[in-house]
């Protein structure tokens, strides 16, 4: 196995919702990445051919955007204390600000 392939060692699904679907033209995509959230989103951005996707999830300082709801296997990133390590089969969901009642 090549070094690059070893680093890109997990396969994760990225799902987007609401306005993001129209903007990026996909609902869900499975990508091979390095197991970091950043890596996942960067690989997905490459796959859909739109680098903007990265800034949909991260702010200028590289932090996950406060005004996005990011869920990993249904758990909000803000509730998951500590570093996120994605595993094969994980599902990451990104929502723009939405609400209802």
């Amino acid at each position: 196995m090549l070094v690059w392939e070893m680093q890109q060692s997990v396969v994760v699904t990225l799902k987007v919702f609401a306005t993001l679907r129209k903007k990026y033209g996909f609902r869900e995509i499975e990508v091979r990445c390095d197991g970091t959230l950043r890596g996942l989103v960067e690989e997905a951005a490459k796959a859909v051919g739109n680098p903007e996707l990265v800034y949909e999830v991260f702010d200028k300082d590289g932090k996950p955007r406060d005004d996005r709801i990011i869920m990993i296997n249904g758990r909000n990133l803000k509730d998951l204390k500590g570093r996120v390590e994605l595993k094969t089969g994980d599902v990451v969901a990104v929502f723009p600000p939405i609400a209802g009642g």
């Binding site: 803000k78 723009p96 939405i98 209802g100």
Partner: protein
């Protein structure tokens, strides 16, 4: 201060009283003022030797109150198009009746000259109440009796004419005393919960039409202009009220709540719906949505107009379905055909029924059927299997007319499940069906449902905003710490909003401070955040005192057994139940209650005179 219209349908007398500044200062308006008034009735009955428990929810002694608040109909106030309805007792729950609605009716009642309408007694023939430019009349409604909500609204609107004319009415479900019937206005807007349509039906009151051009004044115009501008700007800029809700409406919640493992499926047997995408806001937008329709004066405009072009569920104009309705009629019943949900939602509006209680009651029946607890002869061929769209739609109209098996569904899920010997399958609190969030995956909404005064209700205190949506802050949904406090804070603040009366959705962008500024300018009182929240707490506590008088206390602040003993089988909250006892203990301590009852000290502290 404005005026209160007091109508006794038994004696056909109509009186006008002044809205009391003293009461308004303590209870604002809307729900708060109505709670105060209802408490006075309870006291009066007690003085006459009538015990609160002996008041028949469908007897002439029940009282119905329609109340606007200081913000209703005030242009420039954030989302000021709503009104609140209360009754001493709900036929569904036996506890207080309480519901809230949008549309035009609230503001137009004010333009017709009144803040509040009180309905006492019962008519001896079908009547409607006409309130036009200050003049009120009780008129014959025999030709309207039997008509659906849309026809009733259209006929009366045309008859009265005028620009600001609006109709609140009941459909066949209210006439037929269906316990889950509601009061509808402006065709598709519902004061949905606790069966108030049946209370109106029991009084033979078909409708209240309001019309007028009277101006609503604000006390400090310059200050108001500034406060209004600031608040509306905040709403416009806020991602939820400025973009999320206007673009997608409430149905957009389907996917996120399902993703969080909180979206009850098949009568709450699990909380992940494998077909959520098919009934989601995104799918609705692509298929049946045609445009938006706001309530009066609202800048958010979350209301949806829909159309199903062809097929068995064709409907050329409808409104909704909202998130809660999609969940109840779709996910709770396991139905994944969105057009069938649109149609069932339409029937609920047409006949005047609460979509949440309707869907949940059908779902409960489906579980009873699945478990073989309903004899076939009772079902009369209605194939109530989970996922059967046609049977779900048929069940809705059968309920409105109490036709066939519909006579059982018309009782609501609690009585239905009791009749068939399995009360544990009614997913209700205090007899009111719970809405679309499974508290096993969001603990705060669990203590909220259990302690909500009107029963299983999410808008009594919307903790989901914090637990799932992260607005204005984020809390972990799977922990119990601080959830009692969160439930109390949201319950008290919701009392302020429902007494203001404006839309709860403004609270995604605005806090108590914004409300204090706006309300001070409108009323001319100097309200600060602390006083406002104290008013909210006062309202909640007085309402609780009434519940106590009606026989409800700590033993009723509970959740269905399923949520306490059956762990969620899958998803992010897999293995979780609701740890209600720990949260409840903390809740009572923080509230200053003992076993669901406010202590005399607490009442004194809140200046509640009994």
């Amino acid at each position: 201060m404005g005026k209160i219209l007091k109508v006794d349908l038994s004696t056909e007398s109509i009186k006008v009283e002044k809205t009391s500044e003293e009461v308004a200062r303590k209870y604002l308006g809307g729900k708060g003022y109505a709670v105060y008034l209802i408490y006075q009735y309870l006291k009066e009955y007690e003085a006459k030797g009538i015990a609160p428990r002996d008041i028949d929810p469908l007897g002439p002694e029940n009282v119905l109150i329609f109340a606007t608040g200081p913000a209703t109909g005030v242009a420039g106030f954030p989302s000021p198009g709503r009104y609140h309805v209360m009754a001493i007792r709900s036929p569904l729950t036996g506890s207080i009746g309480s519901a809230n609605s949008g549309g035009d009716w609230g503001p137009f009642l004010k333009f017709a000259g009144y803040d509040i309408v009180i309905i006492e007694g019962a008519a001896d023939r079908p009547v409607y109440l006409s309130i036009v430019d200050g003049e009120a009349e009780i008129l014959d409604a025999s030709d309207l009796w039997g008509k659906n909500v849309f026809d009733t609204c259209r006929i009366l609107k045309k008859k009265v004419g005028g620009k600001n004319t609006s109709v609140a009415c009941i459909g066949p479900a209210g006439e037929n005393l269906v316990y889950i019937s509601c009061i509808m206005n402006d065709e598709h807007r519902a004061a949905g919960r606790t069966g108030l349509g049946a209370v109106m039906g029991s009084k033979l009151l078909k409708a209240i039409v309001v019309s007028g051009e009277q101006k609503v004044e604000v006390a400090r115009p310059d200050e108001y202009k500034k406060a209004s501008k600031e608040a509306l700007e905040k709403m416009r800029k806020h991602p939820v009220t400025g973009e999320g809700l206007p673009t997608y409406g409430t149905a957009i919640l389907v996917n996120i709540i399902n993703n969080g493992g909180l979206f009850p499926y098949k009568n709450w047997q699990t909380a992940i719906n494998p077909d959520a995408e098919a009934i989601s806001g995104e799918t609705l937008e692509k298929t049946y949505l045609i445009k938006r329709r706001p309530c009066w004066g609202c800048t958010i405009a979350c209301g949806r107009v829909t159309k199903v072009e062809k097929g068995p569920y064709q409907i050329l104009y409808s409104e909704g379905p909202e998130y809660e309705s999609i969940w109840a009629l779709g996910s709770a019943t396991g139905v994944k055909e969105l057009d069938a949900i649109v149609k069932a939602n339409h029937y609920c509006d047409e006949f005047g029924m609460d979509t949440i209680s309707m869907g949940s009651t059908i779902a409960a029946a489906m579980e009873l059927v699945e478990r073989g607890l309903i004899p076939e002869e009772e079902l009369q061929g209605l194939d109530l299997k989970f996922g059967n769209a046609a049977a779900m739609v048929e069940a809705v109209w059968r309920t409105a007319y109490k036709s066939g098996f519909g006579k059982y569904l018309a009782m609501g899920s609690k009585r239905l499940c009791e009749v068939f010997g399995a009360p544990e399958y009614s997913m209700s609190v205090k007899g009111l069906e719970m809405p679309a969030y499974d508290p096993r995956g969001a603990k705060g909404i669990g203590i909220e449902y259990a302690t909500a005064n009107r029963g299983g209700c999410h808008v009594t205190g919307y903790t989901i905003s914090v637990e799932v949506l992260g607005v204005p802050t984020k809390a972990d949904p799977l922990v119990t710490e601080n959830k009692a406090q969160l439930a109390i804070a949201t319950q008290n603040f919701a009392c302020v909003v429902n007494s203001t009366v404006n839309c709860l959705f403004t609270t995604f962008a605005l806090g108590a401070k914004d409300y204090a500024q706006l309300l001070s300018a409108v009323t001319g009182w100097d309200l600060d955040t602390e006083e406002l929240l104290r008013i909210g707490e006062r309202i909640y506590n007085l309402e609780r005192v009434m519940l106590n008088k009606l026989g409800f206390d700590g033993k009723d602040d509970v959740l269905p057994k399923r949520l306490l003993t059956e762990p969620l089988p899958e998803g992010p909250a897999k293995g979780h139940v609701v740890e209600l006892d720990v949260m409840k203990e903390e809740y009572y301590k923080l509230r200053g209650w003992v076993d669901g009852r406010p202590t005399p000290e607490k009442l004194k502290e809140l200046e509640i005179e009994l």
